[in-house]
Symmetry: C2
Subunit: 200 residues, 2 copies
DNA sequence: AGAATGTATAATGTTAACAATAATTAGACT
DNA sequence: AGTCTAATTATTGTTAACATTATACATTCT
């Protein structure tokens, strides 16, 4: 599917991230370069790169000469604060760049929405989580928020480790349709309100 | 000096970060793995790792098969917002974990303060910037804010690319003394107020 | 002249071997 | 039995060679 062929590193990173979100690697697990390299049929190099990247995304904790450990989800006490920060960033970016968006960018958001729908239909929680984030990211990028995306992503990522909107993925999908429609039609206030309702 | 010997990757990362903050690599510059590897007398591996890491810290922009480019400082319009987020995180962490700190952690903050003083005396802006951030980080860690430090760091890092409190480093040092003293003496409100005055 | 194509070059991506470090185990000593 | 030490093993850190990709340049065709 990808027009731009992914590098091995990207594929490995995506696969490990998916496994983390699926709960395949419980918190506290030590991840071994050799083990994962063997599973993916690649050398340790790209796996190593993925470890560094995922450490910075907040999923893994890196210790020199000792490897990486799967981090625990954020402390419950912190989750509300992190959500607040996340919402603050999304709101700021949208308010600042709502007019920057063009047809091409709106299409990319719509594409992300379709992918989210597929994920919801499949019923796989990890896929829903990944597509959910992707949808929001596309909106931020459409509003010229490239600069803040890495920080925003870091905030979201670890929160996903507790992503358990069990079952009701059709509701999740509807919430995102409610975001997309005013976004497409140029109603900034409704867009932000819908995002607020979705995240909280 | 380091009791824990650093890996080559850490040394390379620190050196490149220092060069970035010194303005040695202007925004837009493409960094070459081979060139830097040759300069440091190491192989491309650790340099590559450093590139990935510094990309996630916000200094560099990574493009597959094309290498890394030095990013521009944040848009002036965004700087106020980023500062607000940064302050929000510091305040939250301190309010949440002010009582967690023990003597050992207070000492590590004091050590960071001494290093900041040395940097201020030396007059090198990049060193002041690095030690400044280190001081704040030690405070956050002393208050058990490990979870939020990576995000916080990302927000600070790129802001540093415009760090130009030219000349008056003695003032910068004083501001940090004004943070440390109430911190050591257990006055949370004064600590936060001093941080606010320092960052704004 | 200008566009398209093919080739050469230089960079990153990937691999596998080797080095250094940390964890484990076995054994000697008290 | 317990504990310290030494050898072993497993794992990460680093390197250098090779593969692949992107860019620059020359060449050919219209």
């Amino acid at each position: 599917m990808p027009l731009i062929p992914q590098t091995v590193r990207e594929q490995v990173t995506n696969q490990i991230r998916n496994d983390l979100l699926s709960g395949r690697f419980p918190a506290g697990t030590m991840l071994r370069e050799i083990e994962l390299a063997a599973r993916f049929g690649v050398s340790r190099g790209p796996v190593r790169d993925a470890f560094i990247q995922l450490s910075h995304e907040g999923y893994l904790a890196y210790q020199a000469n000792r490897g990486v450990m799967v981090r625990h989800p954020p402390d419950p006490r912190d989750r509300e604060f992190i959500t607040e920060l996340r919402l603050k960033i999304e709101t700021y970016v949208i308010e600042r760049g709502f007019e920057d968006k063009n047809e091409e960018k709106i299409n990319s958001v719509e594409l992300a929405l379709e992918r989210l729908k597929e994920a919801c239909d499949s019923g796989e929680a990890s896929q829903v989580a990944i597509r959910d984030i992707e949808f929001h990211q596309k909106i931020l990028l459409a509003c010229g928020g490239d600069d803040l995306v890495p920080t925003w992503r870091q905030l979201c990522s670890r929160m996903l480790l507790t992503y358990t909107r069990l079952g009701d993925y059709s509701q999740a999908y509807k919430e995102h349709v409610a975001i997309f429609e005013p976004f497409r039609d140029g109603d900034m206030k409704k867009t932000i309100a819908a995002i607020q309702a979705n995240i909280k």
